[in-house]
Symmetry: C2
Subunit: 458 residues, 2 copies
């Protein structure tokens, strides 16, 4: 598919322009093919530390002429092998694109370079009264978050990356640079290239600038937790909360195994039952009102009390299980690798999907805690296995297939927020059917030589 | 570009299948090329009243084989000549696709056929406690609203069609049928075909089914109005409202001319000054709180009082000017045609844009009231002219060009919600630059023979 001679020719040409900023050192290459899950490392042939849009454009022109794969690299925190280089080629490291270019307080927007991380952006915004709400957990780069259509705990209130990117500057496969949209809050001018690029995983172009929606930091944040006797009871509380339109900012669930892991890891004494964690953003009055309404719902579905607080320290203490959840999960089997996966189903099917998944986990003899952004019907399973336990890896792969099939059967998707990458490409056709053909046609229209992140999505 | 012989061949073939449901009567054809503004009528050669997805698929297969233009028709309420047939061909009337297929209360979604109108859908939903919020004014079809990326007064709170369509069934140019997405609230599975199709104005495929997000009807709706001394003062109040995150459901502005028109038409006594109209959705407590906060903002920017009510009759009385605004505008020059146009700018530029536009209107000697969905920075101008006043039509065209240039210069878009259609295609390149090329490439990938609504967008 790609010829090593061509790739070498591209690297030789680019070396002349980039000198020391093009690295072929083994450790740098491996780090740029690094995957955070059990997907194997497939390093690129070279890594280029680009600094400007013109440089990205120059790189892609060379790569396009020589048919050399080009893979944009943010922080490497993606979960489905997005930055791997299965066909070799060059990784374009975007970490020098680390500037917040403008913040418009009156318009609640900011224009940033793609290498700015989520935490850096919010640190920068600290004194403005504004924040960028999308929080996928990892301190990912904004460019990477757009490329994978990231979301996370806040999405139930603030939406996903698709809802919070107003426009982007994109370098196309042949080196041309376009803008997909301006700063107006809405537009009906032509095809929605912004939304097409969000979630395209570096396969249609490379993001070199983004204009983002910001939000006002709420006057008051309140948080609370409630244990439920069953997954179904917790899910019914979720459904009622959404139906009543209570403006929750986060609505998370831990399954009993995950609660047990958190108790052990964070020295907590939570009942080892499904746990809902909720957060409200608003004024003092409104969060109190929201908490009261949510408390009534909990009363109808659980004998356990709803504990909540709008005191920051108290709130953090209540949410400690959630904040430590990932490390607590890993601590269930010290030294284990986690096979992070996510699906998303209509909320009415969430109880069915999670209950059947727990039954499946137990029958397969897996250790696999579940945490869900249940306000969206999205949940993660983290099956654990020692790196050398090939038999368990095999069991986990089979489980993942069953989990996806279950989600699709219930009207859901094979990935709510991680993206397809390498790990989920086998499921894309099951989910999207013949629509995959038209995705392929779009890919060919944008990138006829298939140089942009080949081997991903399709 | 298209050969009349081929078109006739397509019609002959389709006549055999559709019989009486294919009409070539002059009045039916003219009605299906009907435009609501001063864009001239360009009727199709035939109109087919399709009933099923398979029929739409069969029509497109014939049209694609014979290179015959095919134009989907909803209710004909679009404003930029979207349903015109500049190259002839067949109009596919979708009004028989009028079923609400499913409503899922727990998931707050519904699957509907594209010919269902906005009002029909909300009538159907009446007893469910749910509603579909997008309200572009006209009683448009849901399919047409998706095709033009419609929004309207509620968008500041509920988003536009892009935010409220979860997935669609689409018939592609060659007759293949795809689904763009399922019922889950979010997905990261491949390219966002749903958002690509929303706003594609019938040029990439024909929508035969839509799954929509619904919202809970709020417990309480409150509405209010406040007059402001200047456009700038009103815009500053808007900016502060958005910055404070007050969850307004609607935030509209009428300019002084429009207020005068409403006073005359609806026998009101409003000060002939910029008027903000606001609506809050929530609980009794929350709307009261919202109104109090908004009232404080009005106090800072206007000597006039903020009148509000959560009594439905009182609220409607306060909003009467807005409800009658379109007819009031037309009554300024009885018998006149309106050249409805819309632009959208970053909110910080709204005062500049509207003030300069009013100066322009006065200098050009136009009668052109302004109404804005100002919470989004979107506003409409309705220049009026008698149908035979060619000189005035010419002046209005020039004004429209200046308005668009002004909006683009301020970082805005040439259309916030009407779409490009025929009327705005001359501005698309000014706004999107080289991105138009890649839109063209997408169009070619979807529809290599350019049979789907040719002459629109590009």
């Amino acid at each position: 598919m790609f010829d090593q001679k061509n790739i070498q020719q591209a690297i030789d040409t680019l070396k002349q322009q980039f000198g020391e900023r093009l690295s072929t050192s083994s450790s740098v290459r491996q780090q740029h093919g690094h995957t955070t899950t059990r997907i194997s490392n497939q390093p690129p042939d070279a890594v280029i530390f680009a600094k400007t849009t013109d440089e990205v454009s120059a790189i892609l022109r060379v790569c396009n002429q020589t048919s050399c794969p080009a893979i944009a690299f943010g922080t490497g925190s993606s979960l489905e092998g997005h930055v791997n280089a299965p066909f070799g080629g060059v990784s374009i490291d975007m970490s020098s694109f680390d500037k917040v270019l403008t913040v418009n307080h009156e318009d609640l927007d900011a224009t940033v370079q793609p290498g700015v991380t989520r935490e850096d952006l919010n640190t920068y915004l600290r004194d403005t009264g504004l924040f960028f709400p999308i929080d996928p957990g990892a301190n990912a780069s904004i460019g990477g978050m757009a490329a994978t259509r990231a979301s996370g705990t806040n999405a139930v209130r603030y939406g996903t990356m698709k809802d919070n990117v107003l426009g982007m500057e994109i370098v196309l496969a042949d080196g041309r640079t376009i803008r997909t949209g301006g700063r107006s809050r809405k537009s009906a001018a032509g095809y929605d290239l912004t939304r097409l690029m969000v979630g395209s995983e570096g396969t249609l172009g490379i993001i070199t600038e983004l204009t983002l929606r910001l939000h006002s930091i709420p006057d008051k944040i309140a948080g609370g937790i409630c244990s439920f006797p069953t997954i179904r009871a917790a899910c019914n509380a979720v459904i009622e909360t959404i139906q009543l339109g209570i403006p929750i900012a986060r609505l998370e669930m831990l399954d009993p195994l995950h609660v047990r892991a958190c108790n052990a890891y964070s020295q907590l004494n939570l009942p080892e039952k499904p746990l809902l964690l909720v957060e409200f953003h608003g004024t003092s009055d409104s969060v109190e009102d929201d908490a009261a309404r949510f408390s009534d719902i909990c009363d109808d579905h659980s004998p356990s009390p709803f504990h909540w607080s709008d005191n920051p320290d108290e709130r953090k203490k209540l949410w400690k299980a959630r904040h430590d959840a990932l490390w607590a999960a890993y601590a269930l089997i010290p030294g284990a690798t986690g096979f992070a996966t996510d699906v998303c189903v209509p909320i009415s099917k969430l109880a069915d999907c999670i209950e059947d998944t727990i039954t499946d986990i137990e029958a397969a003899g897996l250790t696999a805690p579940i945490v869900g952004h249940v306000g969206d019907g999205n949940f993660h399973v983290l099956p654990l296995a020692m790196p050398d336990d090939i038999d368990m890896h095999h069991k986990i792969s089979e489980f993942s297939g069953r989990l996806t099939a279950r989600s699709l059967k219930l009207g859901g998707t094979c990935t709510g927020e991680h993206g397809i990458g390498q790990g989920k490409s086998i499921y894309l056709r099951d989910e999207m059917g013949e629509a995959v053909e038209i995705m392929n046609d779009i890919k060919t229209a944008f990138d006829p030589k298939n140089i942009l992140n080949p081997g991903k999505i399709f």
